[in-house]
């Protein structure tokens, strides 16, 4: 097991309202020479969070309240651009377990699911509610595929591939699943 299972989460949200936040914003290319995943949370949104001299900006991501948020609410089309898996690693390491937007780029979506970060694409009205109500306590129920907004904000469903759901709720990653098939793989090889 390489990440904590996600079953249900109740947490305050951190809102980054900009649209089209690409993976270069989430983690700039110049940090791709790293050889581990540890500490990438410090590099998340680097150019937003640090001055040229390395000191903190007053960006919301640098507040203690933000660091306690497990749910990131982002503007439309989050995670576009390069396929770097460093992006979900950085968000996970920062402390996020869920990303909610009205659209999430394909590869980032797939990479997130593989790394214990639940990507939720939610309908526009709910997305707008979330953007308008930062720092609210939102409840995510992965089993029932529901997002419950407080203060009569309503309850909304989301879709997830059944296999990815199984992996997330069991904290099982695809490696475990593939390892279970190693006999079948070897049998395939003998017929090559």
């Amino acid at each position: 097991m390489s990440f904590d299972p996600v079953i249900s989460i109740t947490s305050t949200t951190l809102v980054l309202p900009a649209s089209n936040i690409d993976t270069d914003q989430i983690i700039p290319a110049r940090f791709l020479t790293v050889t581990g995943k540890e500490g990438l949370g410090k590099l998340a949104f680097y150019d937003w969070r640090y001055e040229k001299d390395g000191s903190d900006t007053d960006h919301i991501l640098n507040t203690n309240a933000a660091k306690a948020c497990q749910i990131l609410v982002a503007g439309h089309n989050f995670g576009c651009g390069s396929s770097r898996e460093h992006a979900p690693w950085a968000l996970y390491d920062y402390g996020f377990r869920v990303v909610i937007s009205s659209e999430i780029a394909d590869i980032f979506h797939a990479n997130s699911l593989k790394n214990g970060l639940l990507p939720i694409v939610i309908e526009k009205s709910a997305h707008q509610w979330l953007l308008d109500h930062p720092s609210e306590n939102v409840h995510i129920d992965l089993e029932r595929q529901k997002v419950r907004l407080p203060k009569n904000g309503g309850t909304y469903s989301f879709k997830i591939d059944p296999f990815s759901k199984h992996c997330l709720t069991h904290g099982m990653d695809e490696m475990d699943y593939l390892q279970d098939q190693i006999k079948a793989i070897s049998a395939y090889e003998t017929n090559l």
Partner: protein
């Protein structure tokens, strides 16, 4: 039931078929690795005590973080200690796991998607993956080849398989032959401009038509390389005699009788006449001219002599203002600062020869830096044997060591803020070639012609000095 080339290759590699509850388990014939997307995968192997299942089906190179210039002792001049550490870690990891690696001492080292085909490691009908989105390049050989994330690099190292739901299929039929002076790069930019950067999402493309059968393997690789820029998982071209001729005699290609047998099997790898595709797009080759991008993604492309179209949304508006380009104006004739000829899209011999024919006997404009980076050591060697490097350096261009270089700029090869680069690479995203640097994607001919005149230039308007008159 009739099948497409993609169906045929896919079905042959399914270990466990997909159903509602799980994706297919797909067997991988060749796994290419490099320094950037593998370290965390090797770390997972170590953590969990797994071995590399098939080291013989894994092939490594160093290309992304490697410098293209050396110090006075011939040692690579790394941009920083971390880049050097990353390269050395790849060398260590592959040594530990007995993986053939083309490091600094190899005469085959090159950009991963240039090296694989050159070695004959890429062959028709194979499944090929690499932790790099431009793995689609290898589809030029009729292989099913696509990029994967680092987690999946770990899966392939440990199990030689990945989990995947079968993508949809899309036929790109380009009818008729190309006009003179129109290159493979122009064709793929025209295709992306037509279907859009999301047009291929969830699909494997198959390129069909005289336009592609007439192309050399170098050119077919340029086309398949940029399939990903249309959002597609992969792009494929059915193998034919051109493919077999290219492969014959290469290191990993079967020899003698085995080669003849292989060719027979490869020849069967084509789509059945009446097979179905989820989508079909038809273009006329005669309509395609030299293409350039004017925005910040490869879909914002147009004929070089066209007028920049109006932005359709806020994102495009932002792109035009980033590029300092105005809708309704020409982009032709714009002053440029840098020309980069290289990358896995356009760093092969045919690209360098094409560029050389424009540089021959000319001088790079005084205000322009021109950087030319061969895709691999063998290409560099062959180009030097043909005297191309002399043409480039006599013209005032820089002739560097092979690698990804300015395509991604991870090794420090970047432009200065505000500069405009005409680049033969594949991505023109904001900041891709350095903070606040602007990129125009184009063919080697357009890039070379522009280097000489110092402004964005239509290669058809420049008289060629054929390099082979030397």
């Amino acid at each position: 039931m009739s099948k497409s080339l993609f169906d045929k290759v896919w079905e042959k590699h399914v270990v466990l078929a997909e159903d509602e509850s799980h994706p297919a388990t797909l067997y991988i014939d060749l796994h290419l690795i490099h320094e950037v997307t593998s370290p965390q995968a090797f770390a997972v192997l170590k953590e969990r005590g797994f071995n590399v299942k098939c080291p013989e089906k894994t092939l490594a190179t160093i290309d992304h973080s490697t410098p293209t210039i050396m110090d006075e002792n011939g040692e690579p001049l790394y941009v920083n200690a971390q880049a050097k550490k990353q390269v050395n870690l790849l060398l260590e990891n592959t040594k530990t796991h007995n993986i053939t690696t083309h490091g600094w001492d190899s005469e085959h080292r090159g950009i991963v998607h240039v090296m694989g085909p050159e070695l004959g490691a890429t062959r028709p009908g194979m499944t090929i993956v690499c932790g790099d989105s431009h793995t689609s390049t290898h589809g030029a050989f009729g292989a099913l080849a696509f990029g994967i994330g680092t987690t999946q690099v770990g899966h392939v190292l440990a199990t030689q398989c990945i989990l995947m739901r079968k993508p949809k299929s899309m036929l790109i039929h380009v009818q008729g032959g190309l006009a003179k002076d129109v290159s493979a790069k122009d064709v793929i930019l025209a295709i992306i401009a037509r279907i859009g950067v999301g047009g291929g999402t969830g699909h494997v493309l198959e390129y069909k038509g005289e336009c592609f059968t007439a192309m050399s393997m170098d050119e077919r690789m340029t086309v398949c390389n940029m399939s990903i820029e249309a959002g597609a998982r992969a792009g494929m071209i059915a193998p034919d005699q051109t493919t077999f001729n290219y492969l014959e005699g290469r290191e990993y290609t079967p020899k003698d009788e085995a080669f003849q047998t292989a060719c027979k099997a490869w020849a069967a790898l084509k789509s059945d006449e009446d097979c179905a595709y989820d989508k079909t797009v038809i273009l006329q080759a005669a309509d395609i001219g030299p293409m350039v991008t004017y925005g910040t993604h490869p879909g914002m492309a147009m004929p070089i002599d066209a007028i920049v179209p109006q932005a359709v949304d806020v994102a495009e508006e932002n792109a035009l203002s980033y590029m300092e380009v105005e809708a309704g104006t020409e982009i032709l004739g714009r002053k440029i600062d840098v020309v980069f000829i290289g990358s896995c899209t356009n760093s092969r011999l045919c690209d360098l020869r094409s560029a050389a024919s424009y540089f021959k006997g000319k001088q790079v404009a005084a205000h322009v830096r021109a950087i030319i980076v061969a895709g691999s050591e063998p290409i560099k060697k062959q180009a030097e044997a043909e005297g191309l490097h002399d043409i480039f350096t006599a013209a005032g261009a820089q002739w560097r060591e092979p690698g990804c270089s300015m395509c991604i700029g991870m090794n420090g090869d970047i432009g200065k803020p505000g500069e405009l680069i005409v680049s033969t690479s594949n991505r023109n995203f904001a900041g891709r070639q350095g903070p606040n640097v602007r990129t125009i994607l184009a063919s080697p001919a357009t890039a070379a012609a522009s280097a000489i005149s110092g402004v964005l230039t239509d290669p058809r308007s420049i008289k060629l000095g054929a390099y082979n008159e030397l």
